[in-house]
C-alpha cells in the first residue's frame, strides 16, 4: 500500500515562502548530500548556486536521458513500447542534439518580438479576469479568479485548446503533480491527459489552425510523429498552466506581506521588471530541476558521485546562496536579481520564460491598480500552501478590497 507521506522530501520542504533551515545547512556545510526523493530513491542533492549551474550546463556528464532498465520504485510495470511513446516529444527528458532539434521548432513562438505581438491579447484576458473577480467579491479567491485562469487562458489560446475543455484539463494536471497521491493514480491521470492531447493533435493534422499545434503541423508535420507532437504540446500546456499561475498567487501573497514593495509595484511603472525577477528568485516555485543522471564518475563541491546516480539540483537553494546574492533571505524587488536560477540554466532553460515574464509584468500591476486596497481576507497562518506539489504555490488565497 502506498500511504500519503507526512512530509514532502527535504528539498521541497518550506516554511511559508522559505526553504527550510535543513536545506541551508546542507549548502553551508557539505554542499552536496544524499537525500531520499519522493519516490524513495537515494539522490545527490546539489545546493550551491555555482554547482547548480555546473550540473545544468553539462549535459555530457549530467544527462537528462534515462539509461535502459532505469525504473522508479512503485511505478507500475509499463511495456517498453508504451514508455517510449510516452517519452516522445518531452523536451525535458532529452539531451542534445535531439533536444535542440525539437526546441528549435518551438522557439519562433516564444521570441521577445512574438511576445510583443501577443501583448494586447494578454492585456484583454487579464482585464476580463479582473472584471470577473470584481463581480465575485469582495471577498474572493485570488487563485481561482486570477492566478489560475490567466496563464491557463493564455496557453490554451496559444495551443488551440478549446475553452470548454479547460476545466477538465486544469483538474487533471493539478492532481498529476500532487505528490501526496499514489503513483498509479498519477500515472492514470497522465494517460488521460495524453489521450486528450492525442485528440487535439489528430484534429490539428486534419485542420491545422493558427495556433502552435497548427504551426508545428504545417512547418514540421512531416518530421514529427504524433507521439512527439503530443509530448511537445502536453509539456507546453503543463508548463504554461502550473508555473505562472503559482507565481501569480504566491507573488501576490508575497507583495501583500511587504506593503511598501506592493505600493511600488502598483505606483511605479519601472518597478515591475526587476520586481518580477526578484519574485522569481525569492519564491523559486520549481523546487528542483528535472533530475540528471551521471554518465561518469564526477565530483561536485568535493563530493564524489559515481556514474549512473540521480542528481537533483535545488533551484530555491541556489537562488538563496549568499555567494550569489547579498542578503538572499530578503525580498527586495528593486534589485532585479540578474542571474537567478528560477527558469533553470543550460540548454533546458525555460522556453516560455519570455511569455511568463510578460504575463507577470502585466498581471501584477493590473491587479494592484484595479484593487488598490487589496488585502488578505484570512489570517496569514490559515493560507493553504501546496506542500506536496512539484511546483510550489497556494491552493487558494482569500482577498478583499
Amino acid at each position: 500500500m502506498t500511504q500519503a507521506p507526512e512530509l514532502p522530501p527535504l528539498h521541497m520542504r518550506r516554511d511559508t515562502f522559505n526553504p527550510t533551515a535543513e536545506l541551508r545547512e546542507i549548502r553551508e556545510t557539505d554542499g552536496v548530500r544524499t537525500i531520499t526523493s519522493a519516490f524513495g530513491m537515494d539522490v545527490f542533492l546539489v545546493t550551491r548556486h555555482e554547482d547548480v549551474k555546473t550540473v545544468l550546463s553539462d549535459h555530457e556528464r549530467f544527462s537528462n536521458g534515462r539509461p535502459p532498465g532505469f525504473v522508479v520504485p512503485g511505478a507500475p510495470n509499463i511495456p517498453e513500447e508504451e514508455q517510449a511513446s510516452a517519452r516522445a516529444g518531452n523536451l525535458l527528458g532529452l539531451d542534445p542534439p535531439e533536444h535542440q532539434r525539437l526546441r528549435r521548432m518551438l522557439t519562433p513562438e516564444f521570441t521577445i518580438r512574438r511576445m510583443k505581438r501577443l501583448q494586447g491579447r494578454v492585456v484583454e484576458i487579464i482585464d476580463a479576469q479582473l472584471d470577473t473577480m470584481g463581480k465575485a467579491g469582495p471577498p474572493a479567491d485570488l487563485v481561482a479568479n486570477f492566478a489560475l485562469p490567466i496563464p491557463s487562458l493564455v496557453i490554451c489560446e496559444l495551443l488551440g485548446v478549446p475553452y470548454d475543455d479547460r476545466d477538465d484539463f486544469q483538474r487533471r494536471t493539478a492532481r498529476q503533480l500532487d505528490l501526496s497521491l499514489p503513483i498509479p493514480e498519477r500515472m492514470e491521470l497522465q494517460r488521460q491527459g495524453r489521450a486528450y492531447m492525442r485528440s487535439l493533435v489528430e484534429r490539428a493534422r486534419q485542420q491545422p489552425g493558427e495556433d502552435i499545434l497548427g504551426m508545428l503541423v504545417r512547418e514540421h508535420g512531416h518530421e514529427l510523429t504524433n507521439d512527439e507532437l503530443i509530448g511537445m504540446a502536453s509539456l507546453l500546456l503543463l508548463a504554461g498552466h502550473e508555473t505562472t499561475s503559482n507565481m501569480l498567487g504566491l507573488g501576490t501573497l508575497a507583495l501583500l506581506r511587504h506593503p511598501d514593495q506592493l505600493a511600488a509595484v502598483r505606483d511605479d511603472p519601472d518597478a515591475i521588471g526587476p520586481a518580477v525577477e526578484e519574485l522569481l528568485r525569492w519564491l523559486s516555485i520549481v523546487h528542483s530541476a528535472i533530475p540528471r543522471i551521471t554518465s561518469t564518475d564526477v565530483e561536485i563541491a568535493g563530493v564524489g558521485i559515481p556514474a549512473g546516480r540521480l542528481v537533483f539540483v535545488s533551484l530555491p537553494s541556489g537562488n538563496r546562496d549568499p555567494e550569489f546574492i547579498d542578503s538572499p533571505e530578503v525580498l527586495d524587488i528593486r534589485r532585479g536579481a540578474p542571474g537567478h536560477l528560477a527558469f533553470g540554466h543550460g540548454v533546458h532553460h525555460c522556453l516560455g520564460a519570455p511569455l511568463a515574464r510578460m504575463e507577470m509584468r502585466i498581471a501584477f500591476p493590473a491587479l494592484l491598480r484595479r484593487f488598490p486596497t487589496l488585502a488578505l481576507a484570512e489570517n496569514f497562518t490559515d493560507v493553504p500552501f501546496r506542500s506536496f506539489h512539484f511546483i510550489y504555490g497556494l491552493k487558494s488565497l482569500e482577498v478583499a478590497w
Binding site: 550546463s57 519562433p108 521570441t111 521577445i112 518580438r113 540554466h345 525555460c350
Partner: protein, 63 residues
Amino acid sequence: MKISADREVCISAGNCVMAADAVFDQDEDGIVVLLVDDVPEEEEDHAREAVRLCPSQALRIVD
C-alpha cells in the same frame, strides 16, 4: 570590446536581449543576432551582463 555569438548553441532564452538590447537581438526563429561589431563603451557593462546570463554559454567576449 568584441563579442562572439554561437548561433548553433543558442537556445533562444532571450536573456541577452533583456540585458543589452542595443547589442543583441533575436531573428524570427529566436536565435541570437549581434547588432554591432564593436560594443560601444556605454554598452559594455550590459553586454558583459548578457554574456554572464546566457544559459547555454553561446556568448563570449573575444577582445
